[in-house]
Symmetry: C2
Subunit: 243 residues, 2 copies
DNA sequence: GCGAAATCTTTACACTGTCAATATTGCGCC
DNA sequence: GGCGCAATATTGACAGTGTAAAGATTTCGC
């Protein structure tokens, strides 16, 4: 798929010790080696290390560069090590997406908590949504690229459900009504679909660079965030018929 | 990447003659073969045949199955033949996406033409948008999966620009004002971004199965199209603050 | 009709996911 | 303590992929 510029595949050089300070100092020697800094056969916390490596690879090289072998290289283990922890590529990608959803939800919760004025309370959530996507484009792209994910995995399913529930609650709060879990009116459904579609659509178009044309034609210096706010708050109703 | 169940790679059996009736009958024999139905060395219209094959593969096997070699097999030529016409995979995918944008635009134009009542004129375009995506999920997914496309290709650039221009004009018509090509007010930009984000977001969420939860909770029998219409026409303004 | 250019095939290489077989280690249990 | 089993990680292999280079075949301009 790619070109080259790959190191050595079976590279097993002494891993840089302590990227996350997780008991990485002075492990027992590996094989018959005499050096004490050799990497041990058993990693100890490889699963987490692989997920962190995967996130680094993803944000550095993009979705296409996120391969099992690249992640293994990044983590300094053999190419087949990830399989044992995630089954296959879909497994690893799905677990990474679950982490993304949790980060994502946490970002929105803390943005809501920080909001004070009424306007802030209205805009905190969508702004945090877009901000997360801009700060972690690789992760966001992964989370909404369904074809590579396995939603039957509990961790992913739960995390993305939580994301949806948070949205529905926010809409409920805006409409000053309780949104029950198991039944919706058409109006309620439309409100949720509108909010979600608008923010999600805006985000994907923005990340894909498709809003550049619009932003360039706006008054000089207008940011994406300002456009988002205008889009969400403007009450000018069009005079209808189109085409 | 995949498992197996692949035929023979170098398979070069007599192509089934005349899938699209394009001068496929009784060509000169190939190599020292005596049979008259042998495939000729030169295909004649391989470029178009490859694009059609690619669309079939895409809708049949999904985005992950759209590989250069699979397309070559589908078209009955050697695995390296597509390279000569498209340079690389990105090239083929980009040309296919350009075709998608043209189909897409044509669908919206004809939907607009068919609209008579005011309500129809308002909803024709978004409905056609979603309908195209549902009818050609593979193509739609391809068109908006930027990482695999090369927008510097004139055909793709033009076709997607036309799509944007059509949208901007429709919004202009709704606001009863001319939208000039080179400058926009924040209100105009917001209106365009809102319409595009809403419809594009709705479509991707729908195709990714993420609206299923909502649809299931709506009054029994509610379709995605009805939800779309409600989302676009409902004038119930939320009482604001959220979170 | 002939040489050059276009078209298509063949061959080769580096990369990928995934499986099976092996090596190494940790842990419970006697 | 030591012993065996299960977990963990590596090695090796195989089929599939994109893409480049070299060869074969045909078309086309002159």
């Amino acid at each position: 798929m790619a070109k080259s510029e790959i190191k050595s595949e079976t590279a097993h050089s002494p891993r840089d010790p302590g990227t996350t300070s997780s008991s990485a100092s002075a492990r027992p020697a590996r094989r018959a080696a005499s050096a004490k800094t050799e990497t041990p056969y058993h990693h100890g916390a490889l699963r987490e290390a692989l997920l962190q490596a995967a996130e680094r690879v993803l944000e550095r090289e993009g979705l296409a560069g996120l391969t099992l072998r690249a992640v293994a290289r990044e983590a300094g283990v053999s190419h087949a090590a990830p399989t044992h922890h995630f089954g296959d590529l879909t497994g690893l990608v799905s677990e990474l997406a679950a982490i993304g959803f949790r980060q994502f939800n946490a970002a929105m919760v803390s943005a809501c908590d920080a909001a004070t004025t009424p306007l802030e309370r209205t805009l905190a959530r969508p702004k945090a949504y877009v901000a997360y996507a801009q700060a972690h484009p690789g992760m966001y792209g992964l989370m909404f690229r369904t074809e590579r994910l396995d939603y039957s995995r509990p961790s992913l399913h739960e995390a993305s459900e939580a994301s949806f529930a948070g949205l529905a609650n926010a809409i409920g709060a805006m409409r000053q009504e309780q949104i029950s879990g198991d039944a919706l009116t058409l109006d309620q459904g439309a409100a949720i679909a509108r909010a979600w579609s608008m923010v999600h659509g805006f985000t994907t178009l923005l990340l894909d660079g498709r809003l550049k044309d619009i932003l360039e034609r706006l008054p000089k210096g207008t940011t994406a965030e300002q456009l988002l706010q205008a889009m969400l708050t403007s009450t000018v109703v069009p005079k209808l018929p189109g085409c």
